[in-house]
Amino acid sequence: MSLRYLLQRLGTLLLVLFGVSILTFSIMPLVPGSPARVTLGVQATDASVAALEHQMGLDRPLVTQYWTWVTGIVLHGDFGDSLISGKPITEQVRHRLPATLILAFAALLIGLIIAIPSGIVSALRPGSARDLGVSLMSQIGVSIPDFWLGILLILVFAQYLHWLPSSGYAPISEGLGAYLKHILLPAATAGVISGSIMARFVRSAMMEVLGNDYVRTARAKGLDPRRVIGKHVLRNAAITIVTIVGLQMATLLSSIVVVEIIFAWPGLGSMALNATLQRDYPVLQASVLLFATSFAVINLLTDLSYVLLDPSVEYA
């Protein structure tokens, strides 16, 4: 992999982010409703709306607003202040970005723990009872809405069994135990659903490789079946699986928005939703930009990981 390739990809990333920022900035004023009206509620008069919009700087030309915003980010790493609460956005992002990333990572981990073994098991004996069982379970997992599963898990594990807290977040400073207890239910909600989807892809990727001649040869020469699966099949199915995982991350991130709301998880997703409902433009722009960046970075990492998995792949 050449340095030039990497720089090229990073350049594309910046262009994409620029496009995303222009898009969000120009769509925003077209959406009915304004942060001034949300702040004032039912007691808004035209005069008070105008006074607040002036304070918020919304009566300036859009280009001026965009310029202030972009230069703030580029020169000072500053996303500006929330129009509604007046809090600096950068400070909020500093708390919320890690919370979302960790939740996404934990959910992905749970998803993989579900997907890989069950995908392998059903690929080995297509049509068997085990295969049907896995198919059924993954069909259920795919069909369940995330908000429903979240509430179900809360009812069972928090209300009836009292094993886990119903919602919220414990910082790592409160101890690893409390931290893990709080993350388990939200991560499981997002993880079970994305695991069910990934299980099907793992199954088909495995089956495709299993049908190859070299697998039959390996089996024919009496190689330990575990070695055949681990060394030959899984390794060759890995590229497909990694692609799926990369794509799944996008679905996972959107599912995490819902999960964060249900579990009152202080991440970027709940921040983005709040900002949308309150028309808090700069907060929404920051969240969209961060989500777009995460997605683009995941894509890049997916592409780069092909090199590690398959030495014959090379980027120039």
Binding site: L40, A158, F263
Partner: protein
């Protein structure tokens, strides 16, 4: 009668016994809010979720007790001049802000000057209607000069924390939206929008020995079933509201108290009087006969609200309980025919997802009006868009509520007087206007009650608003939470709350 006396005696003894309980100081109350506080600048926001936080942070000159009576707070006494144009308030001498600085009359003047300044963009400035100037003759005296007498001013200075006294430091250093400084029992130590507000005990609080709690952690839990579960499992101590459909389950649950009181609030259908059909009084009368308020209330509140035809709840001293209509679809059809629409007409109703009950209500209304030939389209909008459409008059009818109302002036003036700030329906009745001004000039409960009785009747008869029900204010908490009571003005006040555990 004898039994009643006996019961009352027992109740009095119980009350005395509970008063005798030794309050324990200290501890943290974990409370759950349903909505995110929208800006904590008291003068700009109109969100109840913000006022319910600020209730514990700011004080007003006068306050409302549990029965909505006006009692002294930062002002120990007050009087109005004979012509009603000057109000004088005498302030306590022992009040400090939570940053330790003594509060004086200058702070009161600063607070209300800022509120009246158009540049502030205060949505609550209407509460000071008629006030021309606020001055401080000395450090502990404040005078309000009015252009016209307004008896309701005293009530407005107590109605909620939008009129709370703020320290100018928090405006000058730009933290008014997140950490307004006040003289209340608690101060804001942390505010994470969409997540939590942390209140710490104000060490300089002027009421001796209060508050009992060291800290209140307010968490924002938007999903009502999650909030209920958190309360049942003990993850939170106190919940601002619980799903009305699970009240029975909560009442039967061990260790949970459901605290319910009728709120000084009403839900209504707002009618756009500029609409070609709805401007006809006979059509509005027909709608009043076509809807079944009992069914609507059941759908919207699961039976916790009180169906009503006029705005003031029957628990208030100002109640009239005027109810000229009945559920009578045949009569509604006849009225529509008289109005010239025997086959009905088409109209739109606008509920908002912010208040799911408004969507449920709109569905019942749609079905009931359909039976008399009015074909209703439901246009459900999310909050920001709803506010815009309502504010600009882009609707035929909408479903919403007014909250935190005490004086009859609160129930009518700003909503029903011609051209007033919250008159979104375009209603105009010169007789009502005249009476509403008279109500502000008139002293004495009985005299005022007679005036507003006429207003009440005319507004119900003219029907710019079609009143539906008075909601209940329902808080739920763990039984070890003591010294808290749900209030009709929906304020949430933890100043005397303590934990018995």
């Amino acid at each position: 009668m004898k039994r009643l006396t006996l019961t009352l005696g027992l109740l009095a003894m119980l009350a005395a016994a509970s008063l005798g309980l030794a309050q324990k100081s200290g501890g943290t109350l974990i409370a759950a809010w349903a909505q995110d506080p929208v800006s904590l600048d008291p003068q700009v926001t109109s969100a109840y979720s913000s006022f319910q936080v600020l209730e514990n942070v700011l004080d007003t000159l006068v306050a409302l007790d549990q029965q909505d009576k006006i009692v002294p707070s930062l002002a120990s006494s007050w009087e109005s001049s004979a012509d009603g144009l000057t109000w004088t308030f005498h302030l306590r001498h022992d009040v400090k802000f939570s940053n330790g600085r003594p509060m004086t009359a200058q702070d009161v003047v600063y607070t209300y000057d800022r509120m009246l300044d158009p540049k502030t963009g205060s949505g609550n400035a209407y509460l000071l209607a008629g006030v021309k100037k606020v001055t401080a003759p000395d450090d502990y005296t404040v005078q309000f000069r009015l252009g016209a007498p307004n008896v309701a001013l005293l009530g407005h200075l107590a109605v909620n924390k939008s009129v709370g006294i703020i320290a100018k430091e928090s405006v000058e250093n730009g933290t008014i939206k997140t950490q307004p400084i006040g003289t209340g029992p608690f101060m804001i130590s942390d505010f994470e929008p969409g997540q939590k507000v942390v209140l710490k005990k104000n060490p300089y609080y002027w009421k001796q020995g209060l508050p009992y709690l060291n800290e209140v952690d307010i968490q924002i839990i938007k999903d009502e079933s999650v909030r209920q579960t958190a309360l049942l499992s003990g993850d939170i101590d106190w919940a601002i509201s619980v799903p009305p459909q699970s009240l029975d389950q909560l009442r039967n649950a061990q260790g949970v108290v459901v605290d319910k009181t009728t709120a000084g609030a009403y839900w209504y259908i707002g009618v756009n009087l500029r609409n070609q059909y709805l401007k006809n009084p006979k059509v509005r009368e027909a709608i009043n006969y076509a809807i079944n308020r009992k069914d609507i209330t059941t759908a919207m509140t699961f039976g916790t609200g009180e169906p009503t035809q006029d705005p003031i709840p029957s628990s208030s001293a100002w109640a009239y309980n005027y109810a000229p209509y009945s559920y009578d679809p045949a009569k509604a059809k006849q009225l529509l025919a008289e109005a010239g629409y025997p086959d009905g007409f088409r109209m739109m109703i606008m509920p908002t997802t912010q208040y799911p009950e408004s969507v449920r209500g709109a569905q019942v209304i749609q079905q009931e009006l359909g039976q008399v030939g009015i074909k209703v389209t439901i246009k459900t909008l999310e909050w920001a868009q709803w506010l815009q459409e309502e504010g600009k008059g882009n609707y035929d009818t909408y479903v919403c509520s007014w909250n935190g109302l005490v004086d009859p002036d609160d129930y009518f003036y700003a909503q029903q007087k011609t051209g007033e700030v919250f008159n979104f329906t375009g209603y105009s009745n010169p007789k009502v206007d005249k009476l509403l001004s008279e109500g502000r000039r008139t002293q004495g409960f009985d005299q005022r009650k007679a005036i507003y009785q006429q207003v009440n009747k005319m507004v119900v008869d003219d029907a710019p608003y079609i009143y539906l029900y008075n909601p209940a204010n329902i808080n739920a908490y763990r039984s070890y939470v003591k010294g808290y009571a749900a209030r009709p003005d929906q304020a949430v006040n933890f100043s005397q709350t303590w934990l018995d555990k």
